[in-house]
Symmetry: C2
Subunit: 413 residues, 2 copies
């Protein structure tokens, strides 16, 4: 059971936006047992759209197109699909009413001719109303295959997928189960891991596919499998993981869940009635930002002092200038004081701090570029750890944030 995605629009091809839609679509389709065989990003040109459709329908049962459904002249998807399916556009009264309603509610101007044309839709397609916009979703069937066209605006696409496309695909196709399980490791390169687990890997059942994903100091090991018996699938993967874990117990960090680390942290803190405060220096607010993306973060997250400038570590967090002078701003002692003072200042049960030198220049500390101290303060102790994250700013920040979230998971909940 294969699907392919085709994204239409120059914005991806010129690097103006990141293809985040693909991530969402892939995850949602995997959840209902549909694998993605290929993702194709093309320009909004009729010939190229048709060529991509021809190629995709040779490989996959389901093809999802995103983009090119707007009201402006650069939007060609609807007309191209009409030509592809030898179809004509007819006015859809329900959709026209919906468009008028949206304009009355949010825009407060009458609809213009271009908006009205959004209600002209292919006669052969099933139409999905877009609650958050004026471009409808379309579902075409041809020789047992399904071709779906959705708007490219992420929010509108997601809502149409959840409300209409996923339920419809579930009804239309008998689908297998797909299971991915990802193990996070820290501290060993992929080749060294592969060497260590070679015998295990060679004895994996044929039905399990193994992949290594190195990035930002971590190597993720992913086991994937597809099958019609969900229970068997789970048991097979779980029993292989049970054999694997003893081989990597010194580098094992945890499982990468469908549930992100940020959500797991929220749930852990809320369940244990703990609260969190942060004092970020080199990570610049990124940890706070990641944690507060999760709805309900206010149930446990008190706040964060981004003490970027050395002086602000004193003014805002009350870390003594003498301590900073004695040990330097990137030190175990300052990290500890930041974590403990954040905990007290925000009246939280847990305080976490980062202080480091992300580069490219050395700033207020003599510490080697890439040096980062992370401290976690709780009511009865302070745990600190020192890291060397290399010389590249973006990576030092990224690795520090990842590591801080991991420590928060492992040390406090």
């Amino acid at each position: 059971m294969k699907a392919e995605l085709i994204t239409i629009g120059d914005e991806i091809l010129i690097g103006q936006i990141i293809n985040t839609n693909a991530v969402f679509l892939a995850k949602e389709l995997n959840k209902i047992g549909i694998e993605i065989a290929q993702i194709t990003s093309i320009s909004d040109q009729k010939e190229h759209i048709i060529e991509a459709l021809d190629a995709s329908t040779k490989r996959a049962e389901v093809v999802i197109l995103t983009g090119g459904l707007g009201p402006t002249k650069d939007d060609l998807t609807k007309h191209t699909l009409c030509e592809y399916f030898n179809d004509t556009l007819i006015e859809n009264e329900e959709i026209l009413g919906h468009i008028e309603e949206i304009f009355k509610k949010y825009v407060n101007t009458p609809i213009n001719n271009q908006n009205r044309q959004q209600a002209l839709l292919p006669s052969k397609a099933s139409i999905f109303k877009n609650d958050h916009g004026t471009a409808s979703g379309m579902w075409f069937e041809k020789k047992g295959q399904v071709i779906i066209s959705l708007p490219g605006v992420p929010f509108e696409m997601k809502s149409l997928m959840n409300q209409s496309v996923i339920p419809q695909l579930q009804k239309h196709f008998t689908r297998p189960f797909i299971l991915h399980k990802t193990i996070m490791t820290y501290g060993l390169g992929e080749s060294a891991i592969a060497e260590r687990i070679e015998v295990w890997e060679n004895n994996l059942p044929q039905t399990i596919k193994l992949a290594y994903l190195p990035n930002l100091g971590r190597v993720r090991i992913r086991l994937s499998s597809v099958g019609s018996d969900e229970e068997l699938l789970k048991n097979t993967i779980d029993s292989e993981i049970e054999k694997l874990l003893p081989l990597i117990n010194d580098i094992f960090v945890g499982f990468e869940d469908l549930t992100s680390l940020e959500i797991q942290i929220k749930e852990g803190f809320v369940n244990q009635q703990k609260t969190l405060a942060l004092a970020e220096s080199c990570t610049g607010g990124e940890i706070a930002s990641r944690l507060t993306q999760v709805a309900g973060a206010s149930e446990y997250f008190k706040g964060c002092a981004v003490a970027y400038h050395t002086q602000s570590k004193t003014d805002l967090l009350g870390v003594s200038a003498a301590l900073i002078n004695k040990y330097s701003v990137v030190s175990k002692e300052v990290a500890s004081a930041m974590a403990e003072n954040a905990r007290k200042k925000f009246n939280a049960t847990v305080g976490l701090s980062t202080t480091g030198n992300a580069g490219p220049s050395k700033g207020d500390s003599d510490a080697e570029i890439g040096t980062v101290w992370i401290a976690i303060a709780t009511q009865d102790k302070i745990v600190t750890e020192k890291f060397l994250f290399g010389i590249h700013r973006e990576r030092v920040i990224g690795k520090s944030v990842n590591k801080a979230l991991e420590l928060l998971m492992n040390q406090t909940i």
Copy 2:
């Protein structure tokens, strides 16, 4: 002059990672006059790689593959390219020495057999040494076309592109110039904009391609053109923009530059010897995080108080509890006090604050979900603005951050 990208590896197809490599590659290739015709993401399967190569080489002069070059068994790109070009692997002594050196320096263990195999490289390819890893870049030529294979790890890929691939492409091909100029607007939907600028759009020269990109409350209007005369290209686009601006002066926010807003803000503040402090509530540290991604942010950025919990607005920022009780935590008055107190607390010349209700539940304020106040305090005045950003958390946060950065640009530098 067309290029295509092929990314190899399941991690994109199952939605485990975002294809950020494509953004970097597209931008860098556009800068040297090479357009991307298609981006294809496929699994690491030999047949699919060969099929994608066949299709891409029919459309483009340059094909860049990323991924599948690691030392583990799931990495098939090198062997597949060997087969595709009817080539054999030979040991490259220089690369072997480089791999040994990397292991000595960073890993401190002798190299194993899998690492050694990374030095086995196709005899017909030009080899690019990877300073940050053990997977080399490869450059194949066939009938005037160029096929390049790079590792998928973003950092290694970027460094190989900058050091080897871009200079080599510049030498190898005569290339045209590509120019994109993007105008940001705020406050009007794309169809209303299109209607307003219809006459202008209809009279655009054939050489200019126009696109509308709506997202998070903004519509970006992009003009793109390709040609051999750089000066003419610039003048044509600039003169069209000169005609466009008077038509949209009420919704015009600025130009989206290759230079991001964050970098422009840093440069503006540093040039004017201003400094910045933030007090973030609903944006949760995201503004601070965005600004501190830029190297040298410490030259103007003092810090940020993420006062997420109402109590912390008092404890950390000294906003009086009486003021919060009187006006509520999401109010003009509290936003003003947060911005002004942040400015004073961090001893900065400019203070910016956000306070709002990102949803999904109402929290400590009665304000309607989606209500956000942004305030900017300078030595002589405080400017405040109220926004209604809808009911969806992710969008409320995203729109607030975008708007705050825009206000920072327009109000203070």
